[in-house]
Amino acid sequence: MYLRLFIILCLFLIGCSSKKEKTQKKHVLPKVVLETKQKNYVAGDSISLTFKADSGTERLILQVKNAYGNTLLTPELINDNSVQFLIPKNYTRLAGPCRWILLHEGETASKGKINIATNAPMATHIESYFGPRSITAGYIDYSMLTVSPTDIYDNPLDDGTEVTVKYQFEENISDLKITTQSFFSWYNVRSTTKSGRILVTSECNGTTSKELATIVFPSNATDFSINAKSAHNYADGNQIITFTSDIIKDEFGNTVSNGTLVTFIIKNEKDSYLYTIGTTLNGIVEARTLHPDKASKWEIQGFVTGAAESNIIEFDFNAAIKDYPVHFSQGNRNIDIGPFESFMKQLIPDGLLIKLDIYDAKGNFIQTNKTTTKNGSCNIFLGAHYLPEGDYILKLEAAGIKKEFTKNIHGN
């Protein structure tokens, strides 16, 4: 019971607030006169505003507002009936209109505007941009130089300020004068037909900007010619064939940029499309691939996809291996293949692939054995565990030469 009473009492006490009713006070605005007569300033000037008021000077505050922002100032000096406000540097350094409102307890007592002009006579700064940083040779592309001259406080100079633009390409240095409009000036530096580097700079009121550059890259490649080179033209599967182009150029005679990708499409006699890739270095592309291991006829063409293509060249590979002996022993379980002799009767380099397909007498496929040659020949042993006695058809393929045997395999 007491507890309940206590809680009710607590709630009651919480409900009682100490907030007092405000008595309505009549607000009397003081009469204020602006003493400072100067209306126009230059950025960076020290600006102070002095007012004369008949009463309540201590309660006056000044609201200042310009492009920098909005702030409230308290008086710097109060003498009898006059108050002085000092406008902070942040505000006085920014060119443009600066509005002020004199407030007395939240009510506007007076308001006005001062003008701050760009501080042109002081040192000029130049802010400049140039882009894109690379363009393509020809008549279409360009880079734009944008210059915004400013005063020492970063206020843009007035429209119509003269800016000198200079640009250099190889031996030519051109300059021209442009004027600012809406606080900046711009100029389109057109691409050249020659590839290279264009440097630009600008000058205003004796101040020069930093050096800016754009690179003129060559335009798209034009058709080119290629040739193939190899130590011999035998299909031994162990020699590199190299495809080289002449210097690939664009329509203006510039060598295409380094790293341009050229695809060499190789069409062989079975209509298979093979390829190898190269990238240009000083306009010349070189790509390599391996000789085939059987007689082939290659047609090669190079592409800079979408832009240029080369002539078609042919390269014929003659068979390096004409034939090879096969020797069966140990109940036909041991098969010695080779020696493989190449075009000069030399033993072929290691690694020629030999494939043996084993079928039973009825022609059902059993398994494939693959091996590679070592020292010119190779050996396949068909162990008794895996191939029981019987008749088998053995199909052998190496260097594109196929051989077929029907053998009785027996013994261990």
């Binding site: 940029s257 341009t260 298979s272 093979l274 390599r288 979408g306």
Partner: protein
Amino acid sequence: MKKKTNTLLILALIVGLAFHGSAIFFTLEYTYDALIHLFFADHYASSWFDPWEYRWYTGFTVQSYPPLVHQLIGILSYIGGLKFGMYTVGLIAIVLFITGAYRYTLLMTGSRRIAGYGAVLAVFSSTFVETLHIFGQLPSVSALSILLHSMTEIYLWIKTGKTRYFITSASMLAVTVTSHHVTPLFGMVFFIAPLMGMTVMDAAREKVDSYKKLSFKVFWSTTLQHFWRIAKFGFTAIFLLVFCIFPYWYNSKRNPITQVAIPHGSRDNFLEITSSGLVFFLIPWGVLLFILPYFFYRYFSKRYLFFGLSFTLLTILGTGGTTPVPLLMLGETAFNILTLDRFTLWATIMALPIFAEFAYRMVEGDLKTLIQSKFGGVYHRVLGGLIAGGMLFMVLFTMTLGYFRPSQPAQIKMLPIVNFLGADSHDSWRYLPLGFGDQMAWLSAQTKAMTVDGNYHSARRLPELTTRAIERIENSKFRGVEGIGSLQQFLTVPEKYNLKYIFSNDKFYDPILYYCGWQRLQQLENGIMVWEKLNVAPIPQIMPKQDVPTIMKIMWGIIPISTVLIAIFVNIQMIWVRLLKSRKTEVHSFMKLELPYNKFPAKLLTISHWWSLIVLLCIGYGMYLFYIKNVEQISPNNVVESYYDALDFKEFSRAHSYLDPEQNIDIAQYMLEVSVTDGILSSYAKLDSLNINIYDVTENSAKAKVATMWITPLENVFNDDYHELVKRKNKWYIKSSKVDNDIPPDQLFTANGTTFYNHGRRKITTQETYHEDVLKQPVLEILTAKLVQYKGQYSIIGELQNVDDTPADIVIKATLYNDRNKELANYNAKHQIKHKLMPKETTTFKINFEGIAWSSTKDTIPPTFNPDEFTPVSFEEQPTKFNLQSAGNTANTDLYKHLALQDLEYTEQGFNGVLFNSGVQEVTIPQLIISYYDKDHELLWVDHKFVTSGVRIQRKQFFNYKPLDLDSLRIVNSSLKNCFVNGLPNAAIAEKIFPNRKTIHGPKQSQPFKGKGYEYIKFELNSYIGNPK
């Protein structure tokens, strides 16, 4: 009677502090949890009251875990750093645990001597060693220790009803609650409830002469007498549990855990997965297993009856998935959320007093007499030695487990990474560590940079993570396809998470990083490789945050520490009394209940012997099975298994020992041959399953078909290998397969090429990069783009070209819309594209739309992610239009293009082709991108294939590719209208840069091939280089 200091307790404290206190410096940092707590502590150290933590999971709240231990470490970190704080708290926990065990044993047995034994045994309890030194569960250990301390006070409150004890017990319980939430929650059920039962039982016992006369009636009336004390304490406990960590419950309600169940070893069947059985059953139980019958005998005596029930329950629950009982008892949800190892922990702690009693009787009590009289003095000594030796062995074994089978990667020096993140505004992006283990938490604690990953999965918020049963993305490879799938989503769409840097401590992930378009930036001095992704925007200045009411922040910041202060203040007087023995205190009533221990039941001894025999037999059988399974060359199956195991773990000399000795393969030669093979299988694969089929078995030979499944970072690789096996001298061997004899043509050759370098910032400045140092984005042109539907899934395919004069890194993002321009999905090109293009190079690409990318509801997400078999997502509406946004950035790495297609032939088995590497870098993983065209050379489909072996310099590599059937393919939309390059319309670029494009070049480069639904096919090559020179 003058109270003597308990020498055994002092001994236990000294040994415990010396042993555990010095060992934690070598173990704690390698445990699973300790560093997570360190990270939380770092949070409190830097912002005590603000619970929001931005550094993990794109932000989470630390109110998801009781804060006390973290806050203590946080406070202590001001003295000597975070690790100092952690070790100090660790030392405190050790002291609390030993003294807690002492007081608990004293309460249970009423004998100071036995309690001394309890303290000593607590020091060497393998379950404590495991919890502290392997799991690093500091909050759990601290909470449990204080719970043990509080038990005496609770007993005394219920027994005597003195307010003093009520206050002390409540103050200690409050500390328990604020250090760990699960401990008091379950502690109420498993410790405090039986304790109350025992108290009432003791009170009832005092009313009658002997336990025999203690009937249920007496017990019931006593219960009623004590009911209000029990109720008062019960309500207080619940109030404390709710109030002290109220923000935790508030957060749990507001952010319910949406995480799908993450597999935990404690839920396994311990007989099937023996490693889990070892860690979660054998180690915590240790020697106690042999004495189980004694525990049950004692705990089912009248006084301890309630403890007996609780102990039985805990023991059964701790068996995890071995028996179906825990699942039935807990229900599906609780079973999958709780880690069941804590039940075993509690069971073994609960057994401590009885174990101490056993030890006492064994060492100096009636059991000693019984054994000596029955079996002789030597037997007693041997038995005692065996038990002590067993305990010591378990402790040493557990302690060194982390050393011999490290659960963590080797310690990583974090300083270079911290410096990297701190320099050059690298922390304006998120990062992701890979292969760091739990050390990622330590890295996070040292930097203010943020990661998308994290190590406290209950707090996850990203659906990409909550829908995956993975612990961390960081170790995703251990979760197979699901883990890799989750990682791939982060790698493919990193801009969604502002993820720019990856620290890779495991080269396993390198290929997927490369193929998702990441590039190597630099190797730090600690060996960690930094990967970066271009075209990712930095983290916005204002990040989303889930705020909580100020009162919650204040509660969270003040209550936990206050509970400690109050507990110390309330209990300090008692501690002084206990330590200084300055004042004579009354002897607690439970001290009178000390048993005389004069007759150990002989039957129990016999049963214990039989039981030990059974346990020994089980262990022996387990070891035998282990041996048979692991003995290497006893059967054809075993030798193949061992051979693949050796290859998987890169133990090549062991692999060599399984090769047929009669083939005379020199070990040096074998190692040489193995070392030169490279590729995804030999360098980046983890053997996932092995299916051995032995056939053609004769006495001394056999053949094996080995079907292997490898988890690679890119996709699953299924491989069939055939081996011939021979038996020589009762051992089976594998015949080695023939090696490729191919020799490259040239000994020495030259290669010229263009290399690129981008300075980045030319001026050293902390400001934004200067305008003139920003390169122009390379211009790309999209040549074709189509929305196609194939086998039920929608894809965007197309072709694009780098039309600029500098190499470009390509990012391409597609968005699907329906007829009413409603956005349905967006995703990036993953690996079916060449991400790095030289000037004028083209690439075909395909963008698949993967589940999580747009799905906010759970049901549309496929349960598992398989990178091979894409699960098509059912669109609510038909996508009919698309938008393509491509962006180029200047690339200067990974520009190797010297892989050539040297031969191609179509056979019945598909295309057999030969790749030839004509350059000077070894290609580790070659990729084929295959595009299909119709008779008008219109692109139809893009496919890819990873060649499993690498291509060495000037050598060949064979591949086989089976062309697809495209009968069912449907082109939904083919348009270049909404294609953009670097934010500009594609059409304008095409007109300006390539006004006279020779469109015939495409057809001229594609292979005529009549397949099902297409007429032309084109092969493109992309090559990953594992070790760029």
